[in-house]
């Protein structure tokens, strides 16, 4: 469902839905939790065999899988916990300080 929430801070009470129910399923994707991150998991494609352990262990569903193959990290939402890098048996994910990779 499309639910426009621009300027919600200034809405009168009557414009909010009853019970303050969220009306747009999954719209939390608009929240960029990626800016919490202090360390970034960097994926080295050559080392990866798409075992997908990083996918099933990611708390934020931030591992992108395309057609059953590992395809990278969603940095808009990855909080940088490092679980993927810890659990990767082939060291195909490694943590790098965010300030070293950010412009």
């Amino acid at each position: 469902m499309k639910w426009e929430i621009g300027g919600i801070e200034t809405w009168p009470w009557s414009r909010h839905p009853l019970g303050l129910a969220g009306l747009a399923p999954g719209n939390s994707v608009l929240v960029r939790t990626g800016n919490w991150r202090s360390q970034r998991p960097v994926w080295e494609k050559e080392r990866c065999n798409s075992c997908l352990l990083c996918f099933i262990f990611c708390p934020d569903a931030a591992v992108v899988v395309k057609e059953g193959k590992m395809a990278g990290i969603d940095y808009e939402h990855c909080k940088g916990c490092g679980i993927c890098a810890t659990e990767c048996g082939r060291k195909a994910l490694r943590l790098v300080d965010e300030h070293l990779v950010q412009e």
Partner: protein, 315 residues
């Protein structure tokens, strides 16, 4: 059982952008359960108050891509019972044709303690729903207070450590066994580290939820409350299994079965040592009794479980 490749093609019902801590165990448990939902079925989720609820539904955002209802801390199971009863009635009248399945996700506070009466009631009344407890062993949402799931010897803000006290004095409730004794169709204990086991149990759970009540208890470590580095969430859960602190088993229509055997267990101290909430037990002398009591808890729990499991499946 679905492979990881298959699971990766399914829709994530818990969307990105929820505000649970980096490295939190709860969303890992939720994802493993929801990815196991048969793709043709719809899920209806209910949460009691807890970390998961407050972090996934911060107005005007919601992380749920399915029907979702929150009521209060103590009544998730009762609320979902009502929703499920309504669905059954509408289905009988032919007003709903789709296949809906019902699941509640509660923390240990909302499950072992505050929501216990409504959970017990829902299980006893035979509602066709799954209740999943993501067990992080304390009230983490409000800042680490002891719960019925907190193990002996653990520091929390309400079981402090000092000259007199050495953390929590009491052992933990065995809620999975209590739920199994409600004679539910399916009850199981799982851990996020053993994803294959968890997904297999979740798949059974979604099927059995068409017949009657199902209870899943999934260990989901909390690095803020247990005091360990956030990247070790899975490692800690795995060690809880390998020390026999958290046995993985299922009770299917009254038959108890071990699903992951732990033939050569590590001493439970190996697991305790990794966590700051037990650090006081390893500082100086005088805590040997507590350590021995924790090991005794683990050994007793394991032998009781073995007595109940007629067919132990080695792994």
């Amino acid at each position: 059982m679905a492979t990881l490749e298959e699971l990766s093609t399914r829709r994530e019902l818990l969307a990105q952008g929820h505000r649970l801590c980096a490295g939190c165990g709860a969303p890992i448990a939720v994802r493993q359960v929801l990815l196991a939902l048969p793709p043709e079925a719809h899920a209806v989720v209910c949460c009691p108050t807890g970390c998961l609820e407050v972090s996934t539904t911060i107005y005007p955002y919601t992380s749920w891509r399915c029907s979702y209802i929150h009521n209060a801390f103590e009544n998730a199971a009762a609320t979902l019972s009502g929703v499920q009863a309504m669905y059954t009635a509408l289905k009988r009248k032919g007003k709903i044709n789709e296949d809906f399945r019902f699941v509640a996700f509660g923390g240990d506070g909302g499950t072992y303690d505050i929501g216990f009466q409504s959970l017990s009631g829902a299980m006893e009344r035979g509602h066709r729903l799954i209740y999943v407890c993501y067990d992080n062993e304390a009230y983490m949402n409000t800042g680490i207070q002891r719960s019925g799931a907190t193990p002996r010897g653990a520091w929390t803000t309400t079981s402090p450590v000092g000259h007199v006290r050495t953390g929590k004095h009491e052992g933990r409730k065995d809620l999975t066994a209590i739920m199994a004794e409600h004679h539910v169709v399916y009850a199981a204990q799982a851990a996020i580290s053993h994803w294959r086991d968890t997904v297999a149990k979740a798949e059974k759970a979604w099927e059995y939820a068409k017949e009657g009540p199902v209870f899943l208890n999934i260990l989901a470590p909390c690095h803020r409350g247990w005091r360990f580095p956030m990247e070790k969430t899975i490692e800690i859960a795995r060690l809880a299994v390998r020390t026999r602190f958290w046995p993985l088993y299922e009770v299917e229509k009254g038959e108890w079965r071990l699903t992951v055997n732990v033939a050569n267990p590590l001493p439970v101290a190996e697991w305790l040592k990794m966590q700051g909430r037990f650090a006081h037990l390893f500082r100086g002398k005088g805590n040997e009794e507590v350590l021995a009591a924790i090991q005794a808890d683990v050994d007793r729990q394991w032998s009781e479980l073995m007595a109940r499991c007629r067919s132990a499946v080695p792994a």
